[in-house]
Every structure is written in C-alpha cells, then in structure tokens.
C-alpha cells in the first residue's frame, strides 16, 4: 500500500532556527531519506519552495480562476512530502513519525487511491 506523507510545519520556525539547528535538521532529513531508501519504503519525496510561491487553481462553470496562496491559510504550511510503501497504516505512521519535522510540525498521512484500469 502506498501512503503520501505530507509534511506540515511553520516556515517561520525554520527561519527562527540557528544555523546549527537547521543544519542539524537538514542532516536528519538526509539520513532519514537514506534510511527509507535502503529499507525499501521510499518511492518519492521532495521539499517544496516557500508557501509564498503557492497558487490555487479552481474551475467553476468552465472558467478557470487562479488565486495567490495555498488552499488553506493555516499556521503550518505544506513544506514537502514523501511517497512511501508500507504494509498498513501502523507501519506508515511509524515511518512518518521518523520524519524530522514531526517534532516541530505535523505529518498528514494519506493513502494513495489506486484505480483498476
């Protein structure tokens, strides 16, 4: 089963960190990515640019509108993701808990929808 782990944290929290602290987090991310690649759980993962670069698109009555900003304005922003392979939700949650940002933000786990086609 594939799960998308969405990483929500506060961009400002990263900015508040000292260079040593953010360096430490960055190192933990490198290590985590390496670990789940080796354990076979990793499918894909990327960090996103700042939420200030987000654009939301909607189509209503055939007309596309674009608005500046993310879909939901919250204190925490979507900062990156991992697409992982796990046997069930408990395993996915255990892996998600190892994502360094779980300590300062939250990780949303979404099972991937598979279509029989």
């Amino acid at each position: 089963m594939q799960y998308l782990c969405l990483i929500y944290d506060e961009e400002s929290a990263w900015k508040r960190m000292s260079e040593a602290e953010s360096g430490q987090m960055f190192g933990e991310y490198m290590q985590f990515s390496k670990d789940i690649k080796e354990s076979g759980h990793f499918i894909a993962g990327e960090a996103l640019q700042s939420v200030t670069t987000a654009t939301t698109v909607r189509v209503r009555d055939g007309k596309m509108t674009m608005t500046d900003g993310p879909f939901a304005e919250t204190r925490e922003q979507l900062g990156g993701f991992y697409l992982i392979e796990a046997k069930d939700l408990d395993e996915a949650a255990k892996i998600a808990a190892r994502i360094p940002s779980a300590k300062i933000g939250s990780i949303e786990i979404r099972p991937i929808q598979k279509f029989d086609m």
């Binding site: 046997k87 069930d88 939700l89 408990d90 786990i109 099972p111 029989d116």
Partner: protein, 407 residues
C-alpha cells in the same frame, strides 16, 4: 431448537464469528457483516430440526464461505470489466483450523487512534457489543441516520487507509490498550452519569461496558484491565442505592448499604489485589479506593486514612485539580475538616467554576460550625450546578445550615 434459543445463541456468538470473518475479508467490515448476517439466516433454516455439535464452528465456516463467495463475485466482476488476471484473495487460502478467537484484534481495530473518538465508541458497541445502530443513536442522542453515517465512515477509513486488523506489537501495546480502556470507560460513564436520555439504554451501556471489560480481561489479563473491570463493577454495584424513589441523589455516606449488589462487589474485590500488582495504574488505584468504600459495613467505618493515601498515589500518577480535590476531602475525613480546608482553598483558582469544589468546601465549613460561610458556599455551588436532583440536594443543605445559623 426454538427461534428464541437460536437468537440467544446468535447474540452470544455474533462478536466472535464477526471477528473471525473480518480476518477472512482482510479487514473489510462491511463485507464481513453481510456474510455473518447471511450465515445466521442460513442457520435458522438449517438448524430447524437439529443444532450442529459445534454451532460456532458451523457459523464461522458458513460466514467464511459467504464472504469468499462475495469476494469471488467481485473479482469476476472486475475481470469482466478489466479482463485482467485476478489476485486470489489472500485469505481464501488461509485454513481455519479450530476457531481462533479474533475478538482481541477486533477490539484494537475498533479503538484505533486513527478513528475519531466517537467513531471508536460507536464501532465498538456495534461490532463487539452487538447493539443496533438505532440503540447506539438513542444512547448518544443522535439520529439513526447520523450514527449510521458515522459507522460507515469509520468502516470505510479502516479499509481505505488499511488500518491493520492486528493486535498491536509489544512496543505499541500499552498505549493502545489505554485507548481501548478509555473507550470502555467512556461507554460506562455515558451510562452511569445519566446526564440525559432513556434510562433503559443507559443501563444497557453500563452492562455493555462491563461485558467489554470482562472480555478484555479474558483476552489480555493485564493489571490495569482488571482495575478497570473492578472499578466499574464497584460503581455499578451501587446503582440501586444511588437515587431515592423521587430520583434524588443519595450521597455515598447516606446510602442503604443492604441495597448494594454484594455478588458484584465480591467479584470486584477479588480483582483488586492482582490489579495493584506492579506500579498500580489509575484504574487500579480508583478501584482500590472504591473497594475500601464497598468493604465498610457503615459509612462511619470507612478507612479514610487508607483512602487518602491511595488518592495521594493517584495524584502522583495523574495530577489533576479534581483528583487533588478528592484527596483533600479524604484528608478532611481522615484527620478532620480543619486539615482538609486549606488544601481545598488552595484549589480555588483552578476549580472556581466547578460546583463540587464549592459544595465540598461548604461541607467542611458546615462541619467546622462556620454556618454563614457554609451557606454562602452552598449558594455558589447552586449557581453552577447543572442537574435537577443535585440542585434539590444543595437547596436542602442551604435550608439546614441557614436554620442552624439562626439557632
């Protein structure tokens, strides 16, 4: 076999048959429930003349076959649509030797933290308790449609997010068992607190919670589960003495102890020592306190110093202003109102909006003969109280202390 006897047998076996069938359907609750329903319907026909020697085995096998048939039909349907090689259902090959008890998996899946708390309760009552959707709705003052939707959403999430149908691994077990116990105790309190709703259904809920706790103790005999069962048995043993004919609250000290359920108390008392083994948890400590109350032949014989000591341990385990209040009251009972009052006063800021804080304080002032202050404190309690019987109780007390202060 008569239809009543068959119905009773179904009620007794439903959770077990369902629990095993869910394993066969790979965690598909909806499909398993349909298969169990079909198996019971088939049994009514097949057992008209004679019940098989192993009715449970018969039902499990029938439900399993119905479920596998349904899975095969689905695969065939998908084949027609997709013309693709089907994956054999993983469980079809699994042989059912004897009939394993899968109810523990069922408990843990129903109380999985990825489900909303109210969904955990509803699903537990529906699948393990066998309450109907309508009964659960009535107990929680929701419409049947809302409750049905809540159940469907929970079952869909289990399937879609693949919440495992397993007893959690050892590292997760204590935390997940706590979650199960929390659900059971919530069900009990919903029935016991009787804040609203149909009295009959409320009695059903306390009985159901006790039955679930018995099941947990049977399947996973950890000390805290025994503590939870003992605690609920002890509270529930006083059900007939808690209110008078008018429905008014009767305080523990004023209750007619001959109306306590002795058999239930004895069962609970036997559970308390094993529950206290190894760093007693909060349920075990509360059960021990309730056991001391239950063991006192008269209110005056209550072992208050021991109760105060247990509250102190409880306060260390789970610090909260309400536990601190109970601790202070126990100290007042053990060593006199003057010893308890300063401890109660120290909680003023945290409990100023809690009517029982004012009532407890009023009671100590009354015992110290400070009747005017007692009356004022009872009035403060009255201003905050929610339920009608409690209101009447406080009004009686105010009348008493006012009379005393006039005299």
């Amino acid at each position: 076999m008569g239809s009543h006897a068959i119905e009773a047998l179904f009620r007794a076996e439903r959770a077990r048959v369902l629990a095993t069938t869910i394993r066969v359907t790979n965690g598909d609750f909806e499909l398993a429930e349909e298969a169990v329903q079909d198996a019971f319907a088939a049994a009514v026909e097949a057992w008209r003349d004679a019940v098989p020697a192993e009715p449970r085995g018969w039902l499990v096998l029938a439900a399993r076959n119905k479920a596998i048939d349904a899975i095969r039909r689905r695969i065939k349907l998908r084949q027609i649509v997709a013309a693709e090689e089907p994956a054999e259902p993983a469980s079809a090959a699994t042989e059912l030797v004897a009939v394993p008890d899968d109810r523990l998996r069922l408990i843990f899946t129903c109380c999985h933290p990825a489900l909303a708390p109210e969904a955990q309760i509803a699903l537990t009552l529906r699948t393990l308790g066998g309450l109907t959707t309508e009964e659960i709705a009535r107990a929680f003052l929701a419409t049947p449609a809302t409750m049905a939707q809540r159940l469907v959403r929970a079952k869909t999430k289990i399937k879609a997010a693949r919440i495992p149908y397993e007893v959690p691994e050892a590292s997760q077990l204590p935390e997940r068992t706590d979650a199960v116990m929390r659900v059971i105790y919530l069900v009990f309190n919903e029935g016991y607190a009787a804040t609203a709703g149909d009295a009959w259904i409320r009695r059903d809920l306390t009985a159901e919670a006790i039955r679930l706790a018995r099941l947990l103790v049977e399947l996973l005999p950890v000390p805290e589960a025994m503590g939870l069962l003992a605690l609920m048995l002890l509270h529930d043993s006083r059900r007939d003495a808690r209110t008078d004919a008018a429905g008014d609250v009767v305080l523990l000290e004023d209750q007619d102890r001959s109306r306590w359920d002795r058999a239930q108390i004895d069962e609970a008392l036997a559970l308390v020592p094993p529950a206290l083994v190894g760093g007693a948890g909060p349920y075990a400590l509360q059960a021990a306190i309730a056991a001391l109350h239950a063991s006192a032949k008269a209110a005056g014989e209550t072992d208050w110093p021991q109760i105060a000591a247990l509250f102190e341990r409880l306060l260390q385990r789970t610090p909260s202003p309400v536990v601190a209040l109970n601790h202070a009251v126990a100290i007042a009972m053990a060593h006199g109102p003057a010893a308890g009052l300063p401890r109660i006063d120290a909680l003023r800021e945290q409990l100023a909006t809690y009517h029982l804080w004012h009532a407890a304080r009023a009671d100590l002032l009354r015992r110290l003969g400070r009747t005017a202050e007692a009356a004022a404190a009872y009035r403060d309690a009255l201003a905050l109280v929610g339920s009608e019987p409690e209101r009447r109780f406080l009004e009686r007390r105010i009348a008493e202390v006012t009379r005393a202060s006039v005299r």
